[in-house]
Symmetry: C2
Subunit: 209 residues, 2 copies
């Protein structure tokens, strides 16, 4: 038996499939797979079935491209949400992050990534044209860009804002906004990076007496 | 939509099944599951199938209890391995660890854990009686205890060594040994804990001129 050769072909295959997941190396994969082996077979069946069902049956909302069990997702079809505001996010996790704040009651638009020439992601790979269509429709009053505060995020903001600047009509363009950048709540100014601290001074908020 | 509520029931189920794995929290589970969704469906099918096949078809060697595709594992049935030496280990990972050294050519015995009253693991939960039988058979000359150098490992060593001390016969008991304990190769003595350093002085090895 050679080094790193597993005692079972079945084990070897399970470990190599598991280690294809991001951030899961072969050692972790082995630990996870052996955990499944120690437990009831039901657990493994439930895991495998849930992954297969998700992969084969999940839909993406035709309007906002968020993951959904229905053609139009719960958020887009919700009668009490504000259909005149769209929050543009990179992915599903970011929808959950914004939702968890409880501060946003509008709709979302999931781009599926950000423009990143280094990773070979161009505007054509993202759900930008459908966002342009939604804004062109005329019911949207504001688009909030909630992309990650990185160079790629800023590039994507810039690209999309150019596309939307004359919509729905050049006379009454849609309002566009980005998330405020500044010091984190609970942070220590001493350890805040100078760019963020600088932005928080420029974008300071006037106190109301 | 409430906080921490996923936009899809299928997603929610996949995330909760995935997060049952050890060391995988809900955030990591979501990341892994969304990764599968972004990739080809084939990847998810291969992962699910490999887990199911492993769980349903894998065998444990009848002799050493290591994971195996056959009734007697490759190591136990190997004609060139030394069948008179048994290395007692806690689990499959430790078989792989010892194998990877290339320094051991005998057989293994996988206990499936160590005696740990705190975790409710008693001697009856481990593969100890089959080890006693193997040693009673008479072909085994030496038993090497390669359990983790912890209190539980030492307790298990002690328990098993008592069981084996009169086997195969009181006149010619089997030789028993434990892994050497001492400073790690490449370590700095300054940062070696005093118990380990103390052991390495007591168990010092005489240099041969």
């Amino acid at each position: 038996m050679k080094i790193d050769q597993y005692p079972s072909k079945l084990l070897e295959r399970a470990v190599s499939e598991m280690s294809k997941l991001p951030g899961i190396g072969r050692k972790t994969a082995l630990r996870l797979v052996l955990h499944l082996l120690r437990k009831d077979a039901k657990g493994t069946h439930a895991l495998a079935e849930s992954l297969l069902r998700l992969r084969d049956e999940v839909l993406f909302c035709k309007s906002c491209h968020n993951i959904s069990d229905t053609e139009i997702c719960e958020i887009c079809s919700h009668p009490h949400r504000d259909h005149s505001v769209i929050c543009v996010v990179e992915n599903v996790q970011n929808v959950l992050a914004v939702e968890s704040t409880g501060q946003f009651k509008g709709l979302y638009h999931v781009l599926g990534g950000v423009i990143s020439p280094m990773d070979g992601v161009g505007p054509g790979d993202l759900q930008i044209s459908s966002l342009v269509e939604r804004v062109a429709g005329g019911t949207v009053k504001e688009v909030i860009f909630a992309l990650n505060p990185t160079m790629e995020g800023d590039t994507t903001n810039f690209y999309i804002s150019r596309k939307l600047s004359h919509l729905p009509s050049p006379e009454t363009p849609v309002t566009m906004s980005v998330l405020a950048r500044g010091v984190c709540v609970g942070d220590d100014l001493e350890y805040t990076d100078e760019v963020t601290l600088g932005r928080s001074i420029i974008d300071r908020v006037i106190l109301k007496n």
